[in-house]
């Protein structure tokens, strides 16, 4: 039996005024590309941050590759935040070298290709990049690695609609055929839905619907985008 990439067992995350997660149960098999679908404020970011080990659940159990989130799991995880979390004063190349010191799986040749594709200059200061360029930079950093689990929080946010298809294309191209588990949160389902194996619909901190995307299509005759509208409105 393979160890699930992620297990969430009745995970609750309470903030002073809200409940971000309200008892989420989830098991994600390794190698899956998972769409974490929900509106803003449905708890997507909180869930990804808990898996990444950046936030602690108020209650419930979290396991990543069979371990509690910590230094060991962080070696195998790439968390790509929605907003820019990189140091403004670093250059693009400086950042890649910095990340490589921690993640030997980062391939600089791959990074060079991706920089070219994303039209980013290695010598550019991160603080001087536009929002869209920062969003692309994140993907360069994430896709240059061979992380066992990649957590992408709204990867298409800040990227202009014409480029989205191109970037999804690159994302699909870089996915490893086996082993790599990817969780992508988004509220823009239309563009991204063909790349999901598994979808999780999140509403008010609960996963209201979950399943294999193809099975859901066969059973309901709906696209994930239509289900998104139905389940979450």
């Amino acid at each position: 039996m393979t160890i699930p990439a992620v297990i969430l067992d009745n995970v609750v995350k309470r903030f002073p005024l809200t409940k971000a997660l309200d008892g989420v149960n989830l098991a994600i098999d390794p190698g899956k590309v998972v769409g974490l679908l929900g509106h803003n404020g449905s708890g997507k970011t909180t869930m990804l941050k808990i898996i990444a080990g950046l936030r602690r659940p108020t209650s419930g159990r979290v396991e990543v590759f069979g371990m509690a989130p910590g230094v060991e799991t962080k070696k195998r995880v790439a968390f790509l935040s929605e907003v820019n979390t990189y140091y403004d004063w670093m250059t693009v190349d400086g950042l890649l070298n910095f990340v490589k010191s921690f993640h030997p799986d980062l391939c600089l040749e791959k990074a060079a290709e991706l920089k070219e594709f994303m039209k980013l200059k290695g010598a550019a200061k991160i603080g001087a990049l536009s929002k869209g360029q920062q969003a692309r930079l994140k993907l360069v950093v994430g896709l240059s690695r061979q992380a066992d689990l990649m957590l992408l929080d709204e990867p298409l946010a800040g990227i202009d609609p014409p480029s989205r298809a191109k970037i999804l294309h690159a994302l699909v191209g870089e996915l490893r055929q086996e082993g790599q588990t990817v969780i992508i949160s988004t509220h823009e389902v239309k563009e991204a839905e063909p790349i999901f194996d598994h979808v999780v619909f999140l509403r008010e901190g609960r996963n209201v619907l979950e399943g294999d995307a193809e099975t859901l299509r066969a059973e309901t005759g709906h696209s994930m985008e239509e289900l998104f509208g139905e389940v979450l409105e």
């Binding site: 190698g31 899956k32 590309v33 298809a165 999804l168 294309h169 699909v172 191209g173 996915l175 055929q177 839905e193 063909p194 790349i195 999901f196 194996d197 995307a213 193809e214 099975t215 299509r217 066969a218 005759g221 709906h222 696209s223 994930m224 985008e225 239509e226």
Partner: protein, 123 residues
């Protein structure tokens, strides 16, 4: 390989059907090598797992075989290909009949139409 996918239907089935059609019309000849999972995934812009599933299902039909480390090849058994082609044609025909009957066409009407269209084609 590129085509528009319909997100309302299982994507792996659509990829599988597209490959079957291509094999049936000889786009991929008997014994020929199919594009890799990665190539198809990039072309159709879906995830490689979905394409892998389509290939697996396709293998089950006997139309293709996967050789470890080499890729996926169309069968050299031309009978299997021919049978598959016939079967697909029947399916297409059945779909056509359903649609044309919705317009109130009888079998005679269909034959008449076919003859007329054939004449027009000659001109």
């Amino acid at each position: 390989m590129q085509f528009e996918i319909d997100e309302r239907q299982p994507i792996y089935r659509q990829i599988m059907d597209a490959l079957i059609r291509q094999i049936a019309r000889g786009h991929w000849p008997p014994g020929g090598k199919l594009p890799s999972i990665r190539e198809v995934a990039e072309g159709v812009r879906v995830n490689p797992n979905t394409v892998a599933r389509a290939f697996q299902e396709l293998e089950r039909t006997g139309l293709v075989e996967t050789r470890r480390g080499e890729g996926t090849f169309v069968t050299i058994d031309t009978k299997v290909i021919k049978d598959c082609r016939e079967e697909t044609a029947r399916e297409v025909w059945a779909e056509f009949l359903v649609k044309i009957r919705e317009l109130g066409f009888t079998n005679e009407d269909v034959q008449r139409l076919a003859a007329e269209l054939k004449e027009e084609g000659k001109r």
